[in-house]
């Protein structure tokens, strides 16, 4: 062990600019990999855009609940220095040796003293900053209740009586003499994730945004829906406070070059965003509201997003109109809004009344970030987004500077999270291989542990803290009723309502209460222990209590959320759940945790570009990699790709990568490798595989598993594919164009059909890659043969992000894009050595026939279900309905599998482009690194313990244990190695002598729940 202070010179810090979700993820990944981070954000709390959302697609979860643990996670990491209200004035120097000049604006509030009580704001609302900064109408007290740092900020300019303001603060935290602080930070690399702004439609008179209060942006609509928003989550029309009956969304505002000042790109996330808002709106009001989305192309190309679109259509009855309304008006004396639009098959002007119109505004970079970029010398594209590497989008034109999130290009949360992790990895790799950077805090930690209060001899003294979780709980049940009930229960010393229990202020309150009242057991009435147990366990530790003296009553997920129409029953059930938890916590005992050494080898399954990238990344960091490839050579699907849409040479790239992998001393490649068995636990897996021509069996010990098994090219038997020689997949077309330019020059007509075998009954999802493929090949054909007529028959063109520019270019070059619908698909017939394609042209309202020299089918990708099924059985991992691996959390943990130590990247996750796959590979590297940086795996305390005096040495546990852990020791009774126990409790439940207890789930604790439940029921 070596003191980290020696290796941590000032120059191995990483500066992360932007404290949004991406910045937080980057900082966390770096910190967990034992890298020091300075996280700066110019806002007064971190969290970024996501904290303003009500729910997120496609899970429709409440964001606050999912993000808040991350935020406090961020706050507690000792490797992260968080600087809020701080801007980057300048960054000079080169990779490995940057100097950043930072300026922190005065908050006029001493963060150490402020408790976030809100007295200042209620007395002087005008001079306390709170605005979400997006809105001319919607003030809210604090941006969101779990804010980090949990404090207000004073706008001194607006304050008339400074002295009165100072006095109003009970904590004495207001300091009007606060000064800006300038500081220089040395850092080795920089990650920019300042996010993007949203397009401001104020100047677009015809949309009425500037003067019609019921025309709002999608983010404003989100705020109105949000429980922490200005209306407390009530959806009302800003003009009159009444519930709207008809809401329309207009897509592509500020995107696809459609309006003045709009970006030329597609903003990527707005379609899903609008769908989500429409669904949530429908969920709230059911039949009582109509929702309509006006769109050009529905771009639901993400993982399972197409299913979301189908749900919106089929289950929620959201109405879709393919049209771009040209104006929103409010006729004199009326309250309704009048939308004027036309449909594509008629020229007839149509009008429809709505009472709210939502503008789906796109992303754009802000002035400030552009300025920052220019200071750093970053090259920007025409749309003022950074120019990035063709194969690695987080790499900028400036060495040592990485970008992630919406500043890189418009994108949704999962992709932001992926890039954030990827950027973290790239930035960390600057610092070289992970040396023995061992925590300097060892002693401190040990000292802290000693501080745990010994409560073993005390009578139980329970504190019950009940969250309202905003509207989530408080909206349905009266928290005070629950508190009153809890207060009467045996051993309960304190019962309190705690608002958002997981907010910093509540956490602090709870901690204080525990200490002041000398509580020795805690019950939280709130949300799921699955998400929040760790957070409250930490809290107990801070309060010097053993963290296992805790029970969480899940009164949100199990009561208020699922009994929304019956507050009475929800209340009674919440009481039950709380009482059960109190009964159980009384039986809780302090427990000690177990740990084991971490195996630092990595198994990468899949030797395509994704797998190789991850392998090289981690091998370069000094970890031993075993790379298992099913086929007989490396490279995967990329072996068939020639160029990317942007023109990068894939073959050269892959060839170089294969060479590096083969020659890397830390990578052992197995080809023709099949995984056959697997055992162990995160950090110490053993996997058996057969490889080579001889199917030689060997076992590998590893701590991490990365799944990069890829997907398959789809090849449905449609449109004469494999029957006519002129019918090709897009992949084959690409190869044909490259190999046979002379023949291509002879082509008169080329037809391409999109969504062949995708978005169908059998394969309901979008293959994501095909639209840009079609555009790429169309442009390539025109390069060779400018005279060719190219028809692309599509359902929705999904050229997201900057691909939109190529789509436009193709149109400009004369490629004819014609939409078809599934009820009138194109018909293909052989005609001599050509094919005849007949399609219905809705603009012309007639069938059109083209005799094509080449028909290219966009067949997309399908999951390699044979492989994923087998692997999911061996590794015990979930899959999506269509056979891709299913990650732990589709938004916030997109590359982590639910089983710790397993990660997924590339097309095994869902269809994606090579660049996106590489980004995921980099992200996985970062996520894996967070585990690999540890020397030990914490096994928790949930293990089985044997009471030797009761044990009859009957061997039941020895035989029942799924992992063969128990044995009869020399003393003649069963012994269970705490380091090996997986904590399933099977032995405990089968022991005939009742000599085994599973810690945290002891019999008396479970029975206490049963007893308490019926005590209430029967009483």
């Amino acid at each position: 062990m070596q003191n980290s202070n020696k290796t941590q010179t000032p120059n191995n810090k990483i500066l992360v600019v932007g404290g949004g979700l991406g910045g937080i993820r980057t900082a966390l990944d770096l910190a967990e990999a034992e890298k020091d981070v300075v996280l700066v954000d110019n806002d007064f709390t971190i969290g970024g855009l996501m904290t303003q959302l009500d729910r997120t697609f496609p899970t429709n979860n409440c964001d606050l609940c999912t993000i808040s643990p991350h935020l406090s996670e961020s706050n507690r990491q000792e490797h992260i220095e968080l600087m809020s209200m701080t801007s980057v004035e300048n960054i000079s120097g080169e990779k490995g040796n940057f100097t950043a000049s930072l300026r922190t604006a005065p908050r006029y509030i001493n963060l150490d003293k402020c408790t976030g009580c809100g007295e200042c704001y209620s007395a002087f609302p005008e001079c306390v900053r709170f605005t979400p900064g997006l809105d001319h109408r919607a003030p809210t007290c604090m941006r969101y209740p779990q804010a980090t740092p949990q404090a207000f900020s004073i706008d001194l300019k607006k304050c008339e009586d400074v002295q009165a303001l100072v006095k109003v603060c009970p904590a004495g935290a207001i300091n009007p003499d606060d000064m800006p602080i300038n500081r220089e930070v040395k850092c080795a690399s920089v990650v920019l994730s300042p996010g993007a702004s949203l397009f401001d439609p104020s100047h677009l008179d015809y949309l009425g945004y500037a003067n019609l209060p019921d025309v709002v942006t999608s983010l404003e609509f989100e705020r109105i829906l949000s429980a922490s928003g200005p209306t407390g989550g009530k959806l009302v029309r800003p003009s009159n406070g009444e519930q709207p009956k008809k809401v329309a969304w207009i897509q592509c505002i500020g995107s696809r070059g459609l309006q003045k000042g709009a970006g030329s790109y597609c903003s990527n996330a707005c379609c899903m965003f609008a769908l989500k808002e429409a669904i949530v709106t429908k969920e709230r009001f059911q039949e009582d509201i109509e929702t309509t989305i006006f769109y050009m192309d529905m771009r639901t190309f993400g993982k399972d997003y197409e299913l979301y679109l189908n749900r919106a259509k089929n289950e929620y009855g959201v109405r879709f109109i393919r049209s771009r309304p040209h104006s929103v008006l409010q006729p004199e004396g009326e309250t309704d809004l009048l939308l004027n639009y036309t449909l594509e098959d008629t020229t007839e002007p149509l009008q429809e009344k709505f009472d709210m119109v939502v503008l789906s505004t796109g992303f754009k970079t802000s002035e400030a970030t552009r300025e920052l970029a220019s200071k750093l010398g970053l090259e920007l594209n025409d749309n003022f987004f950074p120019v990035t590497d063709g194969f690695n989008p987080v790499v900028t034109s400036k060495k040592g500077v990485y970008v992630a999130g919406t500043f890189e290009s418009p994108k949704d949360i999962p992709e932001t999270m992926v890039q954030a992790s990827a950027a973290a990895f790239m930035a960390a790799s600057e610092l070289g291989p992970a040396t023995e950077t061992v925590v300097a805090e060892d002693e401190d930690e040990a000292a802290e542990e000693l501080l745990e209060r010994d409560v073993s001899l005390e009578e139980p003294k329970v504190g019950v803290f009940i969250c309202d979780c905003g509207e989530n709980i408080g909206g349905l049940v009266d928290v005070n009723t629950l508190v009153e009930h809890a207060a009467k229960l045996p051993y309960v010393a304190v019962a309190k309502a705690e608002g958002h229990g997981c907010s910093r202020i509540s956490m602090e309150n709870i901690r204080q209460t525990i200490e002041e009242e000398q509580l020795n057991r805690v019950v939280i009435g709130g949300c799921s222990p699955r998400t929040h147990q760790a957070k409250f366990e930490d809290l107990l530790q801070k309060a010097k209590l053993n963290k296992y003296l805790l029970e969480i009553a899940n009164i949100r997920d199990q009561a208020t959320w699922v009994h929304p129409n019956n507050p009475e029953k929800a209340t009674e059930k919440a009481k039950d759940l709380i009482q059960m938890s109190v009964g159980a916590v009384v039986k809780a005992q302090p427990l000690a945790e177990q740990s084991l050494p971490m195996n630092k080898n990595v198994l990468v399954v899949g030797g395509g570009v994704t797998g190789m990238t991850a392998a090289l990344n981690l091998a370069d960091q000094g970890f031993q990699i075993y790379l298992a490839e099913k086929s007989d050579k490396l490279g995967g699907m990329a072996n068939n790709l020639l160029k990317t849409l942007e023109g990068n040479d894939v073959q050269a790239f892959v060839g170089d990568m294969v060479d590096r992998v083969k020659n890397h001393e830390k990578i052992q490649v197995f080809t023709r490798a099949i995984i056959v068995d697997h055992s162990g636990m995160p950090g110490m897996f053993t996997t058996g595989m057969q490889s080579g021509k001889q199917m030689f069996y060997r076992q590998i010990e590893h701590g991490i598993t990365i799944l990069a098994t890829g997907a398959l090219s789809n090849r449905p038997k449609q449109y004469l594919l494999d029957e006519s020689s002129v019918v090709r997949t897009q992949l084959e077309t690409q190869r044909f164009i490259a190999d046979n330019p002379d023949q291509v020059k002879q082509w008169e007509n080329v037809v391409m059909i999109q969504c062949v075998g995708s978005r169908t009954q059998e394969n309901p999802n979008c293959s994501r890659i095909c639209c840009q493929n079609a555009v790429k090949n169309a442009l390539a054909i025109l390069d060779v043969n400018p005279e060719a007529r190219v028809f692309v028959l599509y359902r929705d063109m999904r050229t997201y992000g900057f691909q939109e520019n190529y789509y436009r270019l193709a149109r400009e070059k004369g490629v004819i894009f014609v939409r078809y619908t599934t009820d009138r698909p194109p018909v293909v017939e052989a005609e001599g050595d050509k094919v005849n394609v007949t399609y219905y042209d809705s603009i012309l309202s007639m069938n059109v026939s083209v005799t094509a020299d080449n028909l290219s089918l966009s067949t997309g990708l399908i999951a390699d279900t044979d492989s994923t099924e087998e692997l999911s059985m061996i590794f015990k991992l979930p899959r999506t309905a269509d056979g891709y691996f299913l990650e732990d959390h589709v938004k916030l943990r997109p590359v982590d599998m639910p089983v710790p130590g397993f990660f997924v990247a590339g097309t095994a996750h869902s269809p994606k482009l090579i660049r996106e796959s590489i980004t995921q590979a980099n992200a996985v590297s970062a996520r894996a690194h967070t585990m690999l940086a540890r020397d030990e795996i914490n096994l928790g305390a949930g293990i089985a313990k044997v009471d030797g005096t009761r044990c009859a040495a009957c061997l039941v546990c020895v035989r029942a244990c799924p992992f063969d852990i128990p044995f009869i020791n020399a003393e003649g009774y069963s012994e269970i190695d705490p380091a090996k126990c997986h904590g399933c409790g099977v032995c405990a439940s089968e022991c005939p002598a009742k000599a085994i207890q599973l810690m945290q789930f002891e019999d008396d604790r479970i029975l206490a729940k049963v007893e308490q439940l019926f005590e209430r029921v029967i009483a």
Binding site: R950, A952, C954, V956, R959, A960, P992, A993, K994, A995
Partner: protein, 222 residues
């Protein structure tokens, strides 16, 4: 090990019907190992009796206690403290344990909760099979270590009857033919000639033929 199996609940209810306070005893030896009368089974039975009696319109009190070994008087002595609180005792120990309690607490009705079955070995988790009948004159030495007394349905001592088919006993597919096993063992040991020795008619006196048996170790006995 002695094996046992819980009696049907119905039978047990009949036993305890006249009583209100029951002391339900387990034993942490054989019956624990064969999952018939350990702490856990005591808990299950207590709960089951309670409910069944309740259904019969009667609320009974059941006190649960598991002795280390119910066939030893010292352990049985532990019950002194709780016996007065009970109108009747029900024991999940083997017959030895039940009798030990009955002998010690002469004025308390004692009922068996299990049927004591046999001396068995465990074949695998949850499966016990008879291996010994305690005949008092072990002949395993002559039969390749497999007992024809305990394991042959007809206790044949000189070879298999005509009902032995593919290793099974004629009484059931699930019962191995002991003589097939013996023969296989003798072959494996290279002692097939031993089979030809005629085993004379057995002296059943050590097996209980001359009344209840007793072992006395003079050096230990007080």
């Amino acid at each position: 090990m002695i094996t046992a199996e819980r009696k049907p609940l119905e039978e047990l209810i009949e036993y305890i019907k006249p009583y209100k306070r029951i002391l339900l005893l387990g034993c942490n030896e054989c019956v624990t190992v064969c999952a018939a009368g350990g702490r856990k089974e005591v808990g299950l039975l207590a709960s089951g009796l309670q409910m069944a009696m309740l259904k019969n319109g009667k609320n009974i009190e059941i006190q649960q206690h598991t002795l280390e070994r119910q066939c030893d008087p010292e352990y049985v002595e532990e019950l002194v403290q709780m016996i007065d609180g009970a109108d009747a005792v029900m024991s999940m120990a083997c017959g030895c344990g039940v009798q030990q309690v009955a002998m010690r607490y002469k004025d308390k009705p004692v009922f068996p909760a299990v049927n004591t079955k046999f001396m068995g070995a465990s074949e695998r988790q949850g499966v016990w099979a008879e291996r010994c009948q305690g005949c008092g004159n072990c002949l395993l030495g002559a039969t390749g270590g497999i007992c024809p007394i305990a394991r042959c349905a007809k206790q044949l001592m000189n070879g298999p009857c005509g009902g032995s088919v593919t290793g099974h006993c004629e009484i059931s597919e699930d019962v191995d033919c002991a003589w097939q096993l013996i023969w296989d063992r003798l072959k494996a040991l290279g002692q097939t000639e031993r089979y030809l020795e005629i085993m004379p008619a057995k002296d059943w006196r050590p097996a209980g033929g001359s009344g209840p048996r007793k072992i006395i170790r003079e050096d230990l006995a007080e």
